[in-house]
């Protein structure tokens, strides 16, 4: 794996032109994410959380301020920074196996190492037996698992997740959250998860950063000092949930 480094987001400003007017999607936002940390970015739609993730991924480089990873300024996309989208975005013309293999197209691994790594990641997300399936043959949850395997196969130091379970039913979502936690614990990857689901943010995050919209900014940071795996019915969990919900409901 690429050497971990601190993700340092400094004074980010991001503007969009909407009908000729400049609209501030993110206003002077600063945030530090430690190596190996699981950070949840929580907020209502329009608070700039997905925009921030795109900036960190390097897909969008038109912003003010700077983003450093391991004290190096990020420029463009990098295999050290993986991104999982809300829709799986698997290529429909490739099988599960081929989709994951495409992520290794420019990797230095030998053919044998690639094959082992692909097989290993298919097992990791529990898709054994579906290697040769096309995306249209998979359920939503299975397709999202394949997308996670594709995001992990390069062993990124940082994995960005943009509401990855937003389109799944509640049961599948809870199951996938557990699996993601296992992967995070096993691989020691820094993860930044964007979500609008309070339970999800608290269940997975070491910290929950609550964002506010218009302009997008940080309203509050909540440390989640609860042992894992967390119990959603636990009193301490409920107390944190109330605290987060309260800050989400604040205006101004």
């Amino acid at each position: 794996m690429t050497e971990l480094g601190t993700l340092d987001i400094r004074h980010i400003n991001k503007r969009f032109q909407v009908a000729g007017d400049a609209f501030a999607a993110i206003d002077d936002l600063s945030l530090t994410v430690e190596p190996g940390e699981f950070l949840s970015l929580l907020g209502p739609s329009g608070c700039g959380k997905s925009t921030l993730l795109r900036l960190i991924s390097g897909l969008d480089s038109d912003y003010g301020g700077e983003i450093l990873l391991g004290s190096k300024r990020i420029s463009g996309t990098s295999l050290a920074r993986g991104l999982i989208f809300q829709e799986h975005r698997l290529f429909p013309w490739l099988t599960v196996e081929e989709n994951i293999a495409l992520a290794l197209e420019n990797s230095q691994l030998s053919v044998e190492e690639k094959r082992a790594s692909i097989a290993g990641h298919i097992s990791l997300v529990g898709l054994n037996g579906f290697e040769k399936a096309f995306p249209r043959q998979l359920s939503g949850g299975m397709a999202q698992r394949a997308a996670i395997a594709r995001g992990l196969v390069n062993r990124p130091a940082l994995l960005l997740l943009d509401e990855p379970f937003g389109a799944l039913d509640a049961l599948t979502r809870a199951h996938m959250q557990e699996e993601l936690q296992h992967i995070w614990q096993a691989e020691g990857i820094t993860m930044v998860l964007v979500t609008h689901d309070v339970d999800e943010a608290l269940y997975l995050g070491d910290r929950v950063v609550v964002m506010a919209p218009r302009p997008g900014r940080i309203r509050k940071t909540v440390d989640v000092d609860l042992p894992r795996p967390r119990d959603r019915t636990d009193v301490a969990f409920s107390r944190l949930k109330a605290e987060v919900l309260l800050s989400l409901g604040e205006t101004g």
Binding site: L59, T77, R89, F91, L102, N106, F134
Partner: protein, 254 residues
């Protein structure tokens, strides 16, 4: 569905009835045999032409033109369509001209082509290539242009090079559209092959065989030629269906 409906709906009934009507009309002198050959005469001619090899020679010559034109025109169309679809400058530079060219009916090129390339094989193959080029280019262009931007973002996340993105993302995503272009090209190529044989210098070919039949007032030869042309077209279509179904097997067919 009842059995009767099934039999009627099979698509074979009506042609068979026509065949019977044709045969009966000849037998009862309702059709002038000078301009209407009998089914038996067509079959006899087919047998004779097959035995002395002239049918296969003609068919072989036509298929050779068809395939060469398809390969040439298809290759140029594919490369240019993909180029115009991905390189902005090339698009701005060439697209207006090419979009104008498509309005010039195919057969109006024949005088120019015969002056530039003569009346023999090169001119015929170039003519077929031209017929193939336009549908392939236009559909490739369309397909390449309409690739989902979200897939291109994934390509950037995976750090694919421009060439890898073209080969692994853009072209597969355009494949349904390219297939449509190639299907059209297959039809146009066969059409242009017969047209070229009518309009350029006489040489062996299935279209030439029909012309010969007309000149000699051998209606059975004309009908045989038409039957063979239709049969080849049908065969091409069947092969194309199979290939398309395989190449696009990833698509949702529901």
């Amino acid at each position: 569905m009842s059995r009767l409906e099934k039999i009627l709906g099979s698509g074979l009934v009506f042609p068979l009835l026509l065949l019977i009507a044709w045969d009966l009309s000849i037998r009862h002198g309702l059709l002038d045999t000078r301009i209407w050959a009998s089914p038996e005469a067509v079959v006899a001619t087919a047998r004779e032409q097959f035995r002395d090899g002239s049918l296969l020679t003609a068919l072989g010559a036509s298929l050779r033109r068809d395939v060469l034109g398809l390969l040439g025109g298809g290759f140029v169309g594919l490369v240019l369509g993909a180029g115009l679809g991905t390189i902005r400058l090339l698009d701005d530079l060439l697209s207006p001209l090419l979009n104008g060219l498509k309005h010039i009916a195919l057969f109006t090129w024949i005088p120019l082509m015969s002056i530039w390339l003569g009346n023999d094989e090169p001119a015929k193959i170039a003519f077929i290539g031209l017929a193939v080029f336009l549908p392939v280019m236009l559909n490739t262009y369309q397909g390449v242009r309409s690739v989902d931007a979200r897939y291109l973002e994934v390509a950037r996340i995976l750090k694919l090079t421009r060439l890898q993105t073209l080969r692994r993302v853009i072209l597969p995503s355009a494949a349904p559209s390219i297939a449509t272009g190639l299907r059209l090209a297959l039809i146009y190529a066969w059409l242009a092959t017969i047209g070229a044989e009518y309009l350029f210098a006489v040489a062996p070919g299935i279209g030439s065989a029909i012309m010969e039949g007309r000149e000699q007032f051998r209606m059975e030869l004309v009908l045989l030629g038409m039957g063979v042309i239709g049969g080849v077209g049908f065969l091409f279509n069947t092969i194309a269906n199979r290939m398309q179904a395989y190449v696009l097997r990833w698509q949702d067919t529901n």
